[in-house]
């Protein structure tokens, strides 16, 4: 009888010590991040990582999540889906992170990560563009994103086209996940928007877009949208100018808003508008805009730390980490509660826009957060506000 007592006591002690270590582990909040700081998408990766660094520093300086510092685990996806998937597994099974923020800065990579995070029931905030990452929401309850949707961008562009009386457009997209997803979205949306669209494609590594542009030139498209995040977009600028397409409205996607690209395009940069979040033109916004002050403050902080200008990629990852922080704080270490906390975020003013999530909507920004900008005298200027 006595022996049994010892046994039970022993078991009790064991379970207690286990539960202690478990709750101890819970105290350490960790966020896992996968971005590509090498490979074709590397260009965005560095800035996106920097945005997260600033956010994590700010959070930890202000006391972390409910008093516990946030531990940040970072892996480079090298712009390769298989590397990102391996790192995701590692984050989920070895590092046991509470949330994953950032999906390799390529939509294709983020989409490949979703099944893993969904299965593991770990909230995932993607910092990539494509709407397909978070839809259909019923199948992807654990996935959110901090970027604008192609759909919202097209709705916003439609407003602009109406102002300019443009009815027929061409979409020149690359064959990466980013470009393909936009093409699919526009195909589904064009009837509703009342736009006639011609589709042309190119590979991200292409060095010549003349054949596609010649076809567009021979069509009666009044506006040309170029959908890519790769340097091929610079070739678009140069060759569209060379072929005399400047009499049409030329617009780059939000993926191309980069100072480096504009500098590479040199004189031809001014011929092309870009559709973007408000971040790059913070100073040009009217004072009534709720974004203006926070954009200026992050810009200042970034310039002090990195001695260069931040871009909207910094903004979207900074926002993603801040959203994660908000949800982790409200979720109190429970995953389902954290997920619901993300869904309940309303009217949150981030640097990239005003976030409104809901059960049906896991992509927080809307067309009101999007503006058209242009490159002028070495900086981005506001071209069309609302």
């Amino acid at each position: 009888m006595k022996k049994n007592h010892y046994l039970i006591n022993g078991l009790l002690a064991l379970t207690m010590s286990l539960s202690i270590t478990q709750s101890y582990a819970k105290n350490n909040v960790s966020i896992g991040t996968i971005l590509s700081t090498t490979g074709p998408a590397a260009f965005l990766g560095e800035d996106m990582k920097a945005g997260m660094e600033i956010a994590i520093e700010e959070i930890n300086a202000a006391g972390g999540v409910n008093g516990a510092p946030v531990e940040w685990v970072f892996y480079d996806a090298e712009s390769q889906t298989n590397k990102a998937v391996a790192s995701t597994r590692r984050l989920l099974s070895q590092d046991k992170v509470d949330m994953i923020v950032g999906g390799g800065n390529m939509s294709g990579i983020a989409m490949a990560m979703v099944p893993l995070t969904t299965q593991a029931k770990v909230p995932f905030i993607s910092t990539e563009g494509s709407l397909a990452i978070v839809s259909p929401v019923e199948e992807r309850p654990w996935t959110f994103k901090s970027t604008v949707d192609d759909k919202q961008v097209f709705l916003r562009l439609k407003d602009y086209f109406d102002k300019k009386n443009i009815k027929k457009i061409a979409l020149l997209h690359d064959t990466s996940g980013f470009g393909q997803a936009a093409a699919e979205e526009l195909k589904a949306l064009s009837d509703e928007l009342g736009l006639e669209v011609i589709y042309e494609a190119f590979a991200p590594t292409d060095t010549d877009l003349t054949p596609q542009l010649t076809r567009i030139k021979n069509s009666d498209a009044q506006a040309v949208l170029c959908w890519t995040v790769t340097p091929a977009g610079v070739i678009f600028n140069k060759q569209a100018t060379q072929l005399g397409l400047t009499d049409r409205t030329l617009i780059h996607s939000y993926g191309f808003v980069s100072q480096k690209y504009m500098e590479l395009a040199s004189d031809t940069a001014q011929n092309v508008l870009l559709v973007s979040v408000k971040f790059p033109v913070g100073n040009d916004l009217p004072d009534s805009d709720p974004q203006k002050a926070i954009i200026q403050s992050l810009t200042k902080k970034f310039e002090e730390k990195y001695h260069r200008k931040p871009n909207q990629y910094v903004a979207q990852t900074y926002d993603a980490i801040m959203l994660a922080h908000k949800a982790l704080t409200n979720g109190q270490g429970e995953r389902e509660k954290t997920r619901q906390a993300l869904e309940n975020i309303q009217n949150y003013h981030g640097v990239g826009g005003t976030f409104n999530f809901s059960k049906e909507h896991h992509s927080g920004l809307s067309k009101g957060d999007i503006v058209l900008i242009k490159w002028e005298d070495g900086q981005f200027r506001l071209a069309d506000y609302q």
Binding site: G39, A201, T207, D208, T210, T214, V234
Partner: protein, 291 residues
């Protein structure tokens, strides 16, 4: 009409880029029998080094190009001495395998040393373009066409009409017999690496104003040009020109007239077809091996 010319000119421009890089493939193939997988990386290195010289030393573009070409030739020489020369056997297969490693090494070193940003600079005669029958062409594309043509002739003269060139071909055809008549195999390999790297580097410097260049552009350029060399017939210099132009024209005609969505697929399907029907390439000589 003008758009047909535009599309053909575009194909010629892209094709001559492929041809130019394919020449480098052929130089090493002719003198060692190996396939050089580092060729694309040398092209990339040339472009990035030229951008670096142009941006940091304030050199005129043509000087930056020549300097970068010479620098890449030097890199080719060092690579050969350090990585190929110590090999115990110089079979084409062994050299081919080492070049795979060289390509990865070159790419990583450029990334670490010169950064990840894509680069570009104005062409040799500035950013301008001119027009032919309503079709427009950048001046740099004319330079590329011309330089490709000149390099092609020079390499042809070198391999067929100079002692050095003939010796290099002899060493590839029969290393044993070549050694008996006093041709030092290791010198031949060194020579071919220097020339191929120099030509590759120079190619990179003149295409960068048109295509832009970043540390990871080498693989795709190498791959396409290797296809061009295969299409024309490996080892044949005229074949490289024909293969490159064919591939470039095919790509631009398909995307201009059929569909831009499956341009690469169609181009490579034709490549497969040619290789199945004519394995030696369009202009290659069929190889007869006696067993």
């Amino acid at each position: 009409m003008s758009s047909t010319i535009q599309i053909i000119i575009s194909g010629l421009g892209t094709g001559s880029i492929y041809a130019l890089i394919a020449v480098g493939f052929n130089i090493i193939f002719k003198s060692t029998g190996a396939l050089n997988f580092a060729q694309g990386e040398w092209v990339m290195m040339g472009g990035i080094l030229a951008a670096f010289c142009f941006g940091n030393f304030d050199l005129p573009v043509w000087q930056a190009c020549i300097l970068a070409g010479l620098a890449v030739a030097l890199v080719g020489a060092i690579t050969e001495r350090v990585l190929i020369h110590p090999l115990l056997n110089h079979t084409p297969f062994a050299i081919t395998l080492v070049t795979v490693g060289i390509s990865l090494l070159t790419k990583s070193l450029v990334m670490l040393g010169l950064g990840k940003n894509p680069v570009g600079y104005p062409g040799i005669s500035g950013q301008g373009f001119t027009s032919f029958w309503g079709a427009s062409i950048t001046l740099q594309t004319l330079w590329i066409l011309g330089i490709t043509f000149i390099l092609m002739i020079l390499t042809h003269l070198f391999f067929n009409h100079t002692r050095w060139g003939c010796a290099m071909r002899a060493a590839a055809a029969n290393p044993g017999a070549a050694a008996l008549v006093g041709i030092r195999h290791s010198r031949v390999v060194l020579g071919s690496f220097i020339i191929a790297a120099g030509v590759g580097g120079l190619a990179g410097t003149i295409i960068t104003p048109v295509t832009l260049m970043s540390y990871d552009s080498g693989a795709m350029l190498g791959f396409k040009s290797f296809s061009a060399a295969m299409l024309g017939g490996l080892g044949s210099l005229v074949g490289a020109m024909a293969g490159g132009i064919t591939l470039g024209l095919l790509e631009s005609l398909v995307s201009g007239y059929v569909t831009s969505q499956f341009k690469d697929a169609v181009a490579f399907f034709v490549l497969l077809l040619v290789l199945v029907l004519r394995p030696q390439g369009l202009l290659g000589k069929a190889e007869v091996n006696k067993v």
